[in-house]
Each structure stands twice: as C-alpha cells, then as structure tokens.
C-alpha cells in the first residue's frame, strides 16, 4: 500500500510538471496558468474518476461474486455515452450539456439494466443482461455517428473509451456534487455487500435479502459511474483493473480499490499525454490495454463463477 501511495505522489507531480513545457515550480504568469488552469483540474478529475470507478468495480465484483463484473457491463456508461454522443452528433443544444444528457442517459441505461435484471437467474445472467443493454446503447451511439457522418470524432473516442482532454475547473463542480451524494450511499451499502460476498444462503441466514442488497449495490455503482462518464467518458476497464490489482497487493477494501483506481488513471493519463507527444492518446485506450494484460495473466487462474 505504501508503494501505491508513493506511485500516487510521483504520478501527481508528473501530471503537474510534464507537458509542452516542463514546469516544476511555476514562476511566470503563463506557467501558473498552465499548471493551475490546465493541469491541476485534469489531475483532480483523473483522480476522482479513477477512485469512483475503482469503488464501483469493487461493489460490483463483490455483490455479483464475479471478478469480471465491471461497470462497462452495467449499461450505465453505455447509456450516458449514447445520450451525450447522440446530442453532439445531431447538434442538439440541451441546457447543461454534456452533464444533463449524460446523467439522464446513465439513469435510463442503469434503470433498464436493473429492470431487466430483476428476477434473473444468478450472477452470470445479471452480467449478460447488462452487456445486452450496454451493446444496445453502443448501437445507438454508433448509429448517431454513422448517420450524421459526424466530424466530431473526439465524441466517439471520448464516450466509447474515455478521455480527460480539455478538463477545466467548471467541469469539476458537477463531479463534486455527484460525489456528495454517492459517497454516503457507498458507505451505507458496504456492510451488506460484505455479507453478499459470503454467498446468498449465508447472507440470508444473516437476515439480508440478497436480491435487494444486490440491487442497492448496483444502484450505488451506477451513480458512481455516471458521475465519471458525464465528464470523462467510461475510462475503459479501470473498474476491472483497480480492484483486481488491489487484491493482488493483498487489500480487498474499498479504500484500496479507490486509491489504486485514482493512481492508475492519473498515471495512465500522464503516459497518454506524453508517450506519443504531440499526439494525445485517449486515456481509456491505455487502461484498456493494461486491463487486457492483467486479464490474460489472471483470468485462467481465477475460480470459476
């Protein structure tokens, strides 16, 4: 865990210092603007997004008892992405965009999944239902871009993969508001999730209704994901990556998953900005590939669902 903290500090300093101009101690006015108006909000959004996704991923994998239960398979990020992408592709002006359509889309996608999931048989069915809703949302987004032949290719990349390009302080306000709601919900739902991990029968004998507890966990995770997707898109596979990595480090708590998530996103974003400079990769692309590597390493050894 000390290693994670150390890496976090290192990544944060790198995120503030690296870029077109290397700035360690901002002295001139221009340098101060670059650090405080461009790099600092981006760093904060990355850290918040990673923490939310890590926590959401942990909630999902624990409550569905499947290491592959990830926010991408929940319909939430898909719904938000579809709503925002469609608005931009057709040039619709919605008040409060992109946040309003993202939140509405996330709520609709998540609600569709939750409705379709009710009464489904077992954890694997829940995941597949989420995947079905997710791919329907993805089809809507793809159809919107294909039909309009949109020049806004950044939209497709951002809302299918996730990217932190162009973050400002004003983008952080809605994230903060979302977190004020999401964090207490997370704290409230955690004890039930810990019981669910033992198995449905044990949870029932402890006086818990597994179906309801699972719904509460799904709803909380949806909220956490929606907060992130509205501003940065579904930064791909961090929700899978962070809890898995935290577990490998010997920690299975939510704080560990959230901190690993934050460090992963900030670190990946530094790499995405600098490796192929001046081309900026979407951060979601890097996290996706990191997840493939980890997935291939661990998937074969994992216990079956």
């Amino acid at each position: 865990m000390r290693l994670v903290a150390l890496l976090g500090v290192f990544a944060a300093v790198a995120a503030l210092a690296l870029g077109t101009s290397f700035v360690l101690f901002p002295t001139t006015h221009l340098e101060q603007v670059v650090v405080w108006q461009l790099r600092a909000p981006r760093l904060l959004l990355g850290a918040a997004a990673g923490a939310c996704l890590g926590a959401a991923g942990l909630l999902l994998r624990t409550s569905l008892r499947n290491p592959l239960a990830v926010p991408e398979l929940l319909g939430v990020s898909g719904g938000a992405a579809a709503a925002v992408g469609t608005c931009i592709a057709f040039g619709l002006s919605v008040p409060g965009a992109p946040l309003t359509p993202a939140l509405v889309g996330a709520a609709v996608g998540g609600a569709l999944t939750l409705l379709a999931v009710r009464g489904a048989k077992g954890p694997a069915a829940v995941l597949l239902v989420g995947a079905a809703v997710g791919s329907a949302c993805q089809a809507v987004l793809l159809a919107a871009t294909a039909m309009t032949d949109s020049r806004e290719q950044g939209v497709l990349v951002r809302y299918l993969l996730g990217s932190l390009t162009g973050t400002t302080w004003s983008a952080l306000v809605p994230v903060g508001v979302g977190l004020v709601v999401a964090v207490p919900a997370l704290v409230a739902v955690l004890p039930r999730v810990r019981l669910l991990r033992l198995g449905d029968e044990e949870a029932m004998s402890a006086g818990l209704r597994p179906g309801r507890a699972r719904l509460a966990a799904l709803a909380t995770a949806s909220l956490l994901v929606a907060v992130v997707v509205a501003q940065a898109g579904p930064i791909a596979w961090v929700g899978f990556f962070a809890p898995a990595l935290a577990e490998r480090l010997g920690r299975s708590g939510v704080v560990a998953a959230a901190s690993v998530g934050a460090v992963v996103v900030v670190g990946a974003d530094v790499l995405a900005r600098t490796v192929l400079y001046p081309i900026e990769l979407p951060v979601g692309g890097l996290t996706a590939f990191a997840a493939v590597a980890l997935g291939l390493l661990t998937a074969r050894k994992r216990v079956r669902v």
Binding site: K121, V129, A132, S135, A146, Q153, L281, A288, L296
Partner: protein, 310 residues
C-alpha cells in the same frame, strides 16, 4: 412446412427490400423501358439485397455452429470475440493497411482477426465453462482496440462506426464476389459436420463414448464459424446479434438436429438482415442498428432463462 413459412417470409422481405428507396422502382423495372430505373435496381438494389442475404446467412450459420461447438446457447459471433476480432481485422486493413477497395483482402484480414478473437477467448475461458461472460469481455476489449485505431485516422469516425455497427449502404457486386463462395464453402462444410455437431452439442463424455475425438472436430467447427463470420463482416460489418437471433429462431422451428438446424439458421439469418435493412432504409438508420436493438432484447430474454450457462 415450417421452413416453407420461413421461405415465404424471406421472399416477401426480398420484394420489400428491392422496392424500398428514394425512387419508386421495383423488381418489374428490370423488364421495363426506363433505363434509369433499371440501373437503380440492377446496380444498386440487387447487389445490396444479395449481399444482405449472403451475409445474413453466413452470420446465422456461424451462430448455429458456435452454439454447438462451445456448447452454450448464448454463443454467437458477437459474444465469442470472433465477430469483434473480425471487425478489428477489417478496420485495421482498411484504415492502416489501405485495403478498403479490395474486398478479398478485407475478407482475409477479417478471417485472421476472427481467428485471433476466437483464440483469445479459448485462452481466457480455458476449461472454466464460463464462455458467455468471458466472451463478452474479450469482445469489449477488441472493440476498444478498434476504437484505438480510430485515433490513428480520426477522419474515419463515420466509416469505423459503420463497421462496428454493420451497414449495407453502398454494397455493390464487387462486395458480393468474395462473399458468396465463402457462404457456399461454409454451408457445405457445416452440413458435412452436422452429425459431429449433434454429438459435440451434448457433452464431452458422450462424444468420447461414441469414439469422437473432441478437440480436432471442435477446432474444425470453430474455424468454419470464423470463416463464415469473416466473410459477412468484411462485406457489411458486425451486424450485431444476427448470429444469436437466427439459431434460436431456427431451433424453435425445426428442433435441435443440426442436419435441419444449420440450413434453417442460415435462412433465418438472411431473413433478419434483409428485413432489418429494409426497415432501416425506411427509418433512416443502418441495418446493424435495427438488429442490435432487437437482438439485445432477445439476449436479455435468453440470458434470464438460461442463467448464462444454457
């Protein structure tokens, strides 16, 4: 009898498909005097219809083969990584390789991608039996890879989303040329393997008991499915969930014996793509959007009923 009903539906869908469009020309225009209408039907609508028929048949066939080979009723090109791999191959060939104008090379690239996607699932799923969920994950990762290619050629956003979705817009005779041989080969091989697939679909013990070497036959079935998928994807793109819908419809019609199931699934696949494209042209969306939205509903129903291991 029931196949007859399916055939009638298919003929109706074909007539509807060839009559839909901005001019009122229909099939009869081929024999009329109006050269403009004849050209519209012969050069634009006829190849589009035939490409849709062949691609749909390929996808339906691939889905039916995959469901037997990995013994999971949810298996289909988009849930096993074979379809997304094929899309990745085709998009890589057209964006990075610059092969968009050579349909045969596109089909080859799609085949390589499809085999890689299927192989990736084999590695990830191992012996766990959890093919459906892991396949969805493999598939999502491959779609992510396709989007990363987009960052190399950002101006192709529209084209890439048409590949990922599946669209019949602008398909001509040259797209049909590599597609129909693929369909014929896959159909002949699959029907030759029908008896083997009946055994594979039950369980390994049963296969051993009747003296069937499981691994080589299963590999042969998977390669056939990848071939059929690649042909369809290289021509029209992913066209999500046709490979899931068609075998389920076929099984409901003619039962589980592959001698009858495989051709019926091909017919059902052709019907769904042609009908989706006709509907899509009326509404103004690509065919893949129609199949993806309808198919997602079917996946929800099947996943709820089988719990993911059906």
């Amino acid at each position: 009898m029931r196949i007859g009903g399916l055939g009638v539906l298919l003929v109706v869908a074909c007539f509807a498909h060839i009559s839909v469009g901005s001019t009122g020309a229909g099939l009869l225009a081929l024999f009329g005097d109006d050269a403009g209408a004849r050209m519209v039907v012969w050069e634009l609508r006829a190849p589009r219809l035939l490409v849709g028929l062949c691609a749909g048949a390929c996808l339906g066939l691939a889905g039916a083969i995959l469901q037997a080979a990995v013994r999971n009723r949810l298996a289909s090109p988009e849930i096993t990584g074979v379809g997304s791999g094929a899309v990745l191959g085709a998009v890589a060939a057209s964006t990075v390789g610059g092969l968009a104008a050579q349909p045969a090379a596109m089909a080859g690239a799609a085949l390589v991608g499809g085999l890689v996607g299927g192989g990736l699932l084999w590695v990830v799923a191992g012996r766990s039996g959890d093919v459906a969920v892991r396949g969805v994950v493999v598939s999502a990762v491959l779609v992510g890879g396709t989007l990363l290619l987009l960052t190399a050629k950002p101006q192709l956003a529209g084209a890439v989303s048409r590949w990922l979705l599946g669209s019949l817009a602008g398909r001509t005779w040259e797209h049909l040329a590599p597609l129909w041989p693929v369909l014929v080969v896959a159909l002949v091989v699959a029907c030759g393997l029908a008896g083997v697939m009946d055994v594979l679909a039950v369980d390994d013990d049963h296969a051993h008991a009747v003296g069937l070497a499981v691994v080589p036959w299963r590999t042969a079935a998977l390669v056939t499915a990848a071939l059929a998928t690649a042909g369809a994807v290289a021509a029209v793109g992913a066209t999500a969930f046709v490979g899931l819908l068609a075998p389920h419809a076929a099984r409901a019609l003619v039962g589980p014996l592959h001698r009858r199931l495989l051709p019926t699934a091909a017919l059902a696949g052709a019907l769904s793509v042609v009908a989706a494209d006709a509907l899509g042209q009326v509404v103004g969306v690509p065919a893949g959007a129609v199949t993806a939205l309808l198919g997602a509903g079917v996946l929800v129903v099947v996943a709820r009923r089988t719990g993911g291991f059906g």
